[in-house]
């Protein structure tokens, strides 16, 4: 301790530097280890693959090209797997129910994170049941297995075998379907790409419903090579599509790769990216390098300032080993303290950013890093002693020492400036990215997703009632919740461009006040949009047949009939459509070839906006056309008074309960 107190300034700098490096490396390596461990805990992980579309096709049962951006697959593509590919030993399908509620006694809950599947799920994947028996599970219909957390939420206990819950779809005219709880599973590991809360039994016929989309997992025979199976599968489809149809190409992705390599819009969980791993690893390495260089510099400076003492020790009989042992003693105290502080910092950081993995479980990694740091920084502390030739002659080397002191200080100063500049650049980049996203003033905007059709149809009424409260300032709606990419990708027709089936573009739907809510300004044109088509009109127009749609519309009240399509382009779409200047797009005619021809008819481009970066900060911005179709707008956006959040939420809840008592 005497060493520390005497040289406390040096020691404090060293300890803080190593502590930050330790925290960074410990956190980064824990994170990376966790990210690389996804789904490896399944005993059959090596042979389990998920089937996805790689390039879109267009075959008979599809009204348009496949949406390649989904992880789930049209069930039609799956049926041939059962008898034409013997290398596929087992198939597990998972289908997500849409807009269902759960009723337990008199309490209604939204059904979230639930999937239909069959008995094969429990033999393919390794999940632990804490109640019930895997044997015989899901051999019958109307069985349900729920997570421990759900059991506690719905029933207040995990002892729930035999209890019943009622599943009711939005359009179910009866009272719903009763399911019996047959099992409770422990929380899925944090390194599982899927973390369902509710699994509902279904049979193969239902799961292969031609209108359904299923997450499709295949267990391949150990001798089957996935590349070869992919080739066979794609060949099979190519040979079996009708003339003028386009067969899609399929891709098999190993279960362990899904988390890092798959970024479809309907993934079963929030996936990571290789890029993030590289960024975090690089950051940790840079911090470690800076700490190493600083530690070396400070030790060199310290050695220079201690040179006279070292010479006295040599004169009194010390050799290099004696001096090295003394240095190791000093550095081991510093490194130990740094590791303790670094570990505390890691825990604080982990708690602060709320990553869902437990650093305290990383015992082996921790011990490895402790040893690594002791050896690494112990060796660095010895480097100046080993590289500097210390003479026992007291009259030599004083000048050299002071020169090195200045050089070391200059190096440290330069490094600090570099680190500071890097931090500022990073901060500016993050600010820039954040400012790109709509709704940077996020604390005042509430996003409510996956509204049922009943709620969408009463959007105007909901808006009218809710806006009576002064705490609720504005309400808009959109098809895609922030952080997602548009569902629809279809061909289009553009004034002055050749019509081409292969030329597609994404479309998003919004409410006319969307841009006002996010305070988005137009690059060109006018964003003071007129209200779009009504829900009544849109309900009548849903028909793949234009004739019947027109007939339905004509039967409507005349007040619902008159509207004109307005289209807004993002900057990428403006470029894709060939406009060098956004202003040139304004007033041009555009038509979107949607399934239902009455939808997105020919209309005028009224504005061009900057790319919204609506999805995430990693994806490249896509060309996107925006139209106004409220029937698709299942995400409501509510701008509230941020100084009165709780009152606003309470009022919102009250309005909702009045209008939709059966919808939680």
């Amino acid at each position: 301790m005497n060493i520390l107190s005497r040289k406390n300034k040096w020691a404090a700098i060293n300890i803080i530097g190593i502590a930050i490096a330790f925290a960074s490396v410990f956190f980064a390596s824990s994170y990376i280890k966790h990210e690389l461990s996804f789904d490896k805990f399944h005993t059959k992980a090596e042979q389990i693959y998920r089937l996805n579309i790689d390039k879109p096709g267009k075959v008979g049962f599809m009204q348009t090209t496949d949406n390649v951006n989904t992880a789930s697959l049209n069930a039609h593509y799956i049926k041939d797997l059962y008898d034409k590919f013997p290398g596929v030993e087992q198939i597990v399908l998972m289908v997500k129910p849409f807009n269902y509620t759960l009723k337990i006694k008199d309490q209604i809950y939204p059904l979230e994170n639930a999937y239909y599947t069959d008995h094969s799920f429990f033999t393919l994947f390794d999940f632990k049941l804490i109640q019930g028996n895997k044997e015989g599970l899901f051999q019958q219909l109307y069985e349900v297995v729920i997570s421990k957390e759900s059991a506690l939420k719905y029933f207040g206990s995990t002892d729930v075998i035999g209890k019943e819950l009622t599943l009711k779809g939005e359009f179910d005219s009866n009272g719903g379907t009763i399911y019996t709880v047959k099992g409770v599973f422990d929380e899925f590991p944090s390194n599982s790409h899927m973390k369902p809360d509710v699994l509902l039994s279904s049979n193969l016929e239902t799961l292969r419903n031609p209108y359904g989309h299923a997450f499709t997992y295949l267990l391949l025979h150990p001798d089957v090579k996935p590349d070869q199976l992919e080739v066979s599968l794609n060949k099979h489809w190519k040979e079996n599509v009708a003339e003028a149809e386009v067969s899609p190409t399929f891709k098999l992705m190993n279960l362990r790769e899904i988390h890092l390599k798959s970024h479809k819009k309907d993934e079963l969980g929030s996936n990571g990216t290789i890029k993030t791993i590289w960024v975090i690893m690089s950051g940790a390495i840079i911090i470690l390098l800076i700490a190493m260089i600083n530690y070396f510099n400070l030790n060199t400076v310290q050695l220079n300032s201690d040179l006279n003492n070292l010479k006295i020790k040599i004169i009194n009989g010390a050799n290099l080993l004696d001096l090295s042992l003394s240095q190791i003693k000093k550095s081991s105290i510093q490194i130990s303290l740094s590791i303790i502080i670094g570990t505390i910092l890691t825990f604080i950081f982990d708690r602060f950013i709320e990553f869902n993995f437990m650093i305290k479980d990383e015992g082996v990694l921790f011990i490895f890093l402790v040893l690594f740091f002791i050896v690494l920084f112990g060796a660095i502390s010895l480097l100046p002693l080993q590289t500097k030739k210390i003479s026992s002659n007291l009259s030599n080397q004083k000048e050299e020492g002071s020169k090195k002191f200045i050089i070391s200080l200059v190096c440290q100063f330069t490094l600090s400036i570099v680190a500071l500049v890097l931090t500022i650049v990073l901060h500016q980049q993050i600010s820039k990215i954040q400012n790109f996203h709509p709704g940077k003033d996020k604390e005042s905007i509430i996003t409510i997703t996956e509204f049922p059709y009943a709620a969408i149809s009463k959007f105007d009424l909901f808006k009218e009632k809710a806006l009576k409260y002064p705490e609720i300032q504005m309400i808009s709606s959109t098809m895609m919740p922030p952080g997602t990419t548009p569902d629809f990708v279809y061909p289009f027709e553009m004034e002055g461009m050749d019509k081409s089936e292969n030329n597609t573009i994404s479309i998003n739907s919004i409410d006319h006040e969307f841009f006002k809510l996010f305070d988005i300004k137009a690059l060109a044109g006018d964003l003071n949009l007129k209200s779009g088509s009504s829900y009544m009109w849109e309900s009548a127009a849903i028909s793949p047949n234009e004739e019947s749609a027109t007939k339905n519309i004509n039967n409507l009240d005349p007040s619902y009939r008159n509207f004109k399509e307005q289209y807004i382009l993002n900057e990428s779409a403006s470029k894709k459509l060939g406009f060098k200047n956004p202003q040139d797009a304004i007033g041009k005619q555009f038509k979107y070839n949607f399934i239902s021809p009455t939808y997105f008819k020919q209309g005028e481009i009224v504005a061009v906006i900057k790319d919204l970066h609506y999805a995430d900060m990693f994806s490249e911005e896509k060309a996107e056309v925006i139209g106004l179709k409220r029937i698709f707008n299942s995400t409501f956006l509510v701008k509230i008074d941020k100084n009165n959040t709780s009152k606003a939420l309470q009022n919102l809840q009250e309005t909702w309960s009045q209008l939709f008592p059966d919808q939680p």
Partner: protein, 232 residues
């Protein structure tokens, strides 16, 4: 004990070449107390450094107990010096971060004394130098005379055969200086060979023999008796 023949030391820089010692011949017997005197820059300290094996000569021979040590490398010289030769400096050269006790313990630690023997010897030395009551103090808390006594305690703790003193009273007042010289005299009387560089005629009177250097060469050698008769 010590025999040097035609010993020279030349310091070279890019621009100048300085001859610090020029063909010095000298013999020192065991138990002798020799003083080296001369004006500043005459080579006294250089000679002392070579005798203490802190530095090596450019040419000539240096026999220490009949071992030729002038060609030894620094590591070998350090090994040779360990336990045999120790120093007392004008500026004491105590380690500020270590207590009095730890400073005195230093050479014994490097000689791998066991704990009990080491402690006994340190306390013995401190008592002998009448500084035992200050063993837990740090050098900055002591007077100059006390610091020099600690330095002497440290120097003689491993019982060296040769004690080299570089102006040991240079930083002390007259009375304290006299005390230090009496101590060195006592040590010499007990058998320790002492070579002392000094500017002080009074301190030189404690020596058996006085060697005068001028421009790197030995000019006069006086016995104690001869030296006492010289009138300044």
């Amino acid at each position: 004990m010590i025999k040097i023949e035609n010993l020279s030391k030349v310091f070279r820089t890019e621009e100048v070449e300085t001859t610090a010692l020029n063909k010095v011949n000298l013999e020192i017997k065991e138990g002798e107390f020799v003083a080296i005197m001369g004006p500043s820059g005459c080579g006294k300290s250089t000679l002392l450094n070579i005798l203490g094996m802190l530095d090596s000569p450019t040419s000539g021979k240096y026999h220490f107990y009949n071992n030729e040590v002038s060609k030894l490398k620094e590591k070998q010289r350090n090994k040779f010096r360990k336990g045999n030769i120790n120093f007392v400096f004008q500026s004491f050269n105590l380690i500020d971060e270590l207590s009095v006790y730890k400073n005195v313990e230093l050479p014994l630690k490097y000689l791998r004394y066991d704990f009990g023997k080491k402690k006994k010897r340190v306390l013995e030395m401190l008592d002998r130098m009448k500084i035992g009551h200050r063993k837990n103090h740090y050098p900055q808390q002591l007077s100059g005379g006390q610091q020099q006594r600690v330095a002497i305690a440290r120097a003689i703790a491993p019982n060296p055969k040769l004690l080299l003193a570089d102006e040991p009273t240079g930083n002390l007042d007259s009375k304290t200086g006299l005390e230090v010289m009496n101590l060195l005299s006592e040590l010499n009387a007990e058998g320790t060979t002492i070579v002392m560089v000094t500017h002080s005629e009074r301190d030189a009177e404690f020596a058996h023999r006085v060697i005068r250097l001028f421009d790197g060469e030995v000019t006069i050698e006086n016995t104690k008796k001869e030296f006492a008769q010289i009138e300044y």
